[in-house]
Symmetry: C2
Subunit: 408 residues, 2 copies
């Protein structure tokens, strides 16, 4: 008998009709013999409304009180789904996040420490389908704690791990994970399967189907996920530790990621001495600025070099200020910045074993005369920084070149 | 240093501006040296909205899940008020109902068993103003439980009793308790003070300023209340065990109550035998119908008699059905019913010691040729059933006759 956690997002909780639809899916799964637990989001828009109330109340609000306010949305949908299930003849009841999930860390962005699975196991033994509000738990000091926006995914995965579920099904408003953003490439294709690592790299560069933290947690717990449509009966995308069987036949590249949230900073004429890169990057990290691509290439025998790095666009002016303040210590000729840049990446476990994939990427972009401003790579990802105006073209030609187009 | 509980109703929680106004009142009270705890309602309309969601979900909903849904409204306002207070420099934090209030009985209409005052005492010692969602607690089985509509008044009184407060201040959208409904008598006057018993009798016949249960609880705990306007700085009405000092000078009648929610049933020609009244009334009670005024007068030596009683209008057809079913056993000539009746009552602790007040009531109504369909009286109340069309006139003439008119 498969043991599963089903998680439903905000759009599938928006209104009683949709909640009935969700209940029907849960009922079917239970009738098919699965041991089912359900985790729900607040109805779409509700968390935004509650966050707005907090902002109106006071610009600098206490995050524990923020948690008290915003945690209410999931409580409502959990109660509504439980009563709807009962009405369909399913033995169901709601549990509260504070009863089940121990959390710690920063309020408003807490992490899950443990799940009190005993209560859920007891419920299961009595044949009860537990319905649990996502996004929340209780901290050590006995206060409500929320897990950050999108935290219901993380709740679902943590609860699935806690009850040793066979898998966690994430029902959402898209029907799976795509090879790239279908708004850029209409021929984007839904993937049958993707690895955790690939999913993390795709999420990190803009494919926001799942909260990144939930994928990281699923990877650590080796808990298979499925991303499915809440509205259509389609198989969705499996997110797994390793591809196997038919999935192995999949393209070596899982997808193409596009990210416009980039700004480039270049420092020219810095001394080509040990520790120079750290002297620039450390103060930025101290200021809480996420530095992404770092390219440092010394011109041989010149004694000086250029350093290029990217930061999120919203942090650009802060980053410039931090660097300018340290101009004396760092010692550079010029600070050049550009926020009309974007990052295109190929992501796939195949990259690890096939260095030709990176070359193919650079050749494909060169054929279209797309200039590379910076390049970085990890085990399963190669990224190129290019002019923002060329991003859509770059994504399309790479999508075709790597054989990802639907019906290709 | 006075120890008080301040309770704010839904209209004073409707919107951030009003919450700021509430916070300012709390701040002032704390600055004046009081030991303050605050109990809040959901914003006006929110509980109705949540109840409606439950109704849409399913007509017959599980009352524990109903509680999960409707309890969320007060959680939101508690968090918002706590952060607003902090922003004003007041050391405040919210507590949840499930942390503090033990409840039992029927879900959706639970009663308070105990208040965990230890947590609140600890908070107080740290100089923290506790903000608590009204209307809710936790039942023995670890589920959220709500106290029935208007239950935040009861929460406030229970918490005040639990922490041995000197008084509980109920801030609402009226500025106190009036001698009668100002919509009927524009000259209605706000009372400085009223006893618990009088308040209960006035509430029972339609003056819905406080939830009846909260007044009963305050009476049992001998906890003085104040009813005050949340919007204006006025002294309001004190609700106390006994009038004393200047309050003794108050009129012997506290107020005139009007109740249109009455229907009359008369059975003619029933046997004048022991137990006949019980044979009629018991089946009604068994059916959950609240029988109010009962008048049974035998015509001497006739061997038969009439029985008149009143029931809530909404229960009239059910009451008729119950009686008709038992026509054979009861044995009556005719069942006459009338729902165009109303009850007018004089309420006051003076009635206990002054039988002349009842006579004065009957004389006053007789002068205006208002016919009495039934009469009942308790220690501190005399009620007359009259034609509904004559109710407003009756209230006005009694209000004047008992010296209650403002500037009289």
């Amino acid at each position: 008998m498969p043991r599963i956690v089903m998680k439903f997002g905000g759009t599938s909780m928006a209104g009683i009709e949709r909640i009935r639809h969700v209940a029907e899916r849960v009922r079917r799964e239970a009738a098919d013999g699965a041991e089912v637990r359900v985790v729900v989001s607040a109805r779409a828009g509700e968390t935004d409304r509650l966050v707005q109330l907090c902002r109106e109340a006071t610009a600098l609000h206490d995050s524990t009180e923020y948690d008290v306010v915003v945690a209410s949305g999931e409580q409502v949908t959990a109660g509504l789904l439980a009563m709807t299930l009962q009405n369909m003849g399913v033995n169901a009841r709601s549990f509260m996040g504070w009863q089940l999930v121990r959390a710690s860390g920063v309020h408003g962005n807490a992490r899950v420490d443990a799940v009190e699975s005993g209560m859920l196991d007891d419920a299961l033994k009595s044949g009860i389908v537990a319905v649990i509000p996502g996004f929340q738990g209780m901290s050590d000091d006995g206060r409500l704690a929320t897990l950050g926006r999108g935290g219901s995914d993380t709740s679902a995965v943590a609860i699935a791990a806690g009850v040793k579920a066979d898998r966690c099904d994430i029902y959402t408003d898209v029907d799976g994970v795509y090879t790239t953003d279908p708004r850029i490439v209409p021929k984007a294709r839904k993937l049958d399967a993707i690895t955790f690592e690939e999913m993390l790299e795709l999420a990190g560069v803009g494919a926001k189907v799942l909260q990144t933290r939930s994928v990281g947690l699923a990877m650590r717990e080796n808990l298979p996920l499925r991303v499915l449509s809440a509205f259509e009966d389609k198989p969705g995308t499996r997110v797994v530790a390793q591809l196997s069987g038919a999935d192995m036949e999949r393209n070596q590249i899982a997808g193409i990621a596009a990210d416009k949230n980039e700004a480039r900073v270049t420092l020219t004429g810095i001394a080509d001495a040990p520790g120079m890169v750290a002297q620039v990057i450390s103060p930025l990290a101290d200021a809480g600025i996420l530095v992404d691509m770092i390219v440092h290439a010394a011109t041989p025998n010149s004694g000086s070099s250029d350093l290029t790095f990217t930061v999120p666009r919203a942090s650009l002016s802060q980053a410039i200020a931090v660097i300018e303040q340290r101009k004396g210590t760092i010692g550079f000729a010029e600070l050049i910045h550009d926020d009309a840049v974007a990052k295109v990446s190929i992501v796939g476990v195949g990259i690890r074993s096939n260095p030709g994939l990176a070359s193919k990427m650079f050749e494909t972009l060169a054929e279209r005369k797309i200039n590379l401003l910076a390049v970085s790579s990890s085990e399963i990802k190669v990224s190129a920084l290019i002019a923002e105006a060329e991003l859509d073209l770059a994504v399309r030609v790479l999508h075709t070149a790597f054989g990802l187009d639907a019906d290709a």
